[in-house]
Symmetry: C2
Subunit: 268 residues, 2 copies
């Protein structure tokens, strides 16, 4: 739909992969509709998946032991002057954390979000999410979940303060009003991902991603687009999957979100 | 139990965290029993979570476009000599991949595993897993799952050929005979993680990890150790949780694994 903004968070190493083709089809179809499409190509960006102290800017201390080293090296100076203010000033110069002695990632990034002190790569992704009406995640299923590089995007970008607060989650999550859609590929066949299949119903593995993550942040979740059985599919079958994705995208803005409750996942 | 080998895969940034204490308690208790305990401290190791071409050694080409550049730069030479062998030799010198034109992570790491051509950090972790009788994963729950750095450990270490094959998965997975145990902490309370709670039964989010990953590789899965509600727990409650973990570890070698079927996760 003209004027709508779409963010595609894309996690595949290879542009010529089927995931690459699905991403390309989405960019083409949505652009044709007049949408503004942005792609975060995580591997090309070499996106950082690890949640560390580096995510808080202005912090020059990289470990607790280093903090103690600085404490120690300034100790004489403080004891000599008996000046607590001076002491605090020295620490603040070195450390932007609210608690430099015990690093708690969730608390520190929450504080840093409020002070716009998160690292620039996180801020940039948050800006893209904030602008988007629809976020599409395009990835191959790794161990019943997203690849680590995309898990890292979720861990780091969807921080408290930006995507949710306590209270302020699930239906009150801060990204309410936005749509999200998982488009994923599997090696295993559709038959394997049924209730009676070896890998269980595909909805089981969607729970942590769709409910625990996207719904928690307030997203309305559209039905997943699953391209099953890539390991055994023919060229012709792949063409059909690509075409059906393109076809679905034509009507994407008229779709109703799924009813994201346990019954959708476990009781049908 | 004396003589048993335990690997603890530990994913927390802060040694003084509750996760750090749980890890410490496990090392102490298991060592006291005479077990040989190894810890993979993923943040301290700065463990790489991204699944890329770098995981295959001997490959000097970092992207498909670079492959084409090399192809182009050698083209005159090949055309001039009309020497297909010479051409192949040049490419092999630059590229260790079985298909350098389209990079497929799963296929390439499978081939690299068979040739002992995986990167050294993966080989080292595989060696630790191979030696272990029990693997304990110690982590805080991030988005109903493991932190990205630990997801990356699973994505990269548990590759085809090492942990499973097709066929050769679930009860026939290559790590059969080994035990695995998830020890995790949550911010949310135990009440939130019940069937009637906002976040659903805790067993729902264990499915991709315990069934889709560990069981798939053949591990027998011991009951999870979940330390709930850290965000709201008192010092006293934390001490009780630590003590109960230590107590459980005393009898860990006599425990029966859970029956890792959908009914354990969804129907009790």
């Amino acid at each position: 739909m003209a004027g709508k903004k779409v963010l595609i968070v894309y996690a595949h190493q290879e542009p010529m992969s089927f995931n690459g083709s699905l991403k390309k089809v989405a960019v083409e179809e949505l652009s044709k509709q007049g949408c503004a499409v942005t792609v975060s190509d995580l591997y090309t960006m070499n996106f950082e998946p690890r949640a560390t102290r580096n995510d808080i800017t202005g912090d020059k201390i990289k470990s607790t032991s280093e903090y103690y080293t600085i404490l120690y090296s300034t100790a004489n100076f403080i004891m000599c002057r008996k000046c607590q203010n001076q002491f605090s000033w020295i620490l603040k110069e070195h450390c932007a954390l609210s608690n430099p002695e015990i690093f708690r990632y969730g608390i520190e990034t929450y504080e840093a979000y409020k002070k716009t002190a998160l690292s620039s790569d996180i801020l940039e992704e948050q800006r893209k999410v904030q602008e988007a009406d629809l976020v599409i995640f395009q990835f191959p299923l790794y161990w019943f979940s997203v690849p680590a590089i995309l898990k890292g995007w979720m861990d780091r970008v969807l921080c408290q303060g930006f995507a949710f607060d306590i209270p302020g989650f699930y239906d009150s999550g801060f990204l309410k009003g936005k749509l999200a859609l998982l488009s994923l590929t599997t090696g295993g066949t559709a038959e394997m991902y049924t209730k009676a299949g070896l890998s269980g119903d595909f909805r089981y593995f969607l729970w942590p991603l769709q409910h625990g993550t996207l719904h928690f942040c307030g997203f309305k979740v559209l039905a997943p687009q699953i391209s099953f059985g890539l390991d055994v599919s023919s060229e012709e079958e792949r063409k059909v999957m690509l075409a059906s994705w393109a076809q679905r995208l034509k009507g994407i803005w008229k779709e109703e979100p799924i009813h994201c409750t346990p019954s959708w996942y476990f009781q049908e």
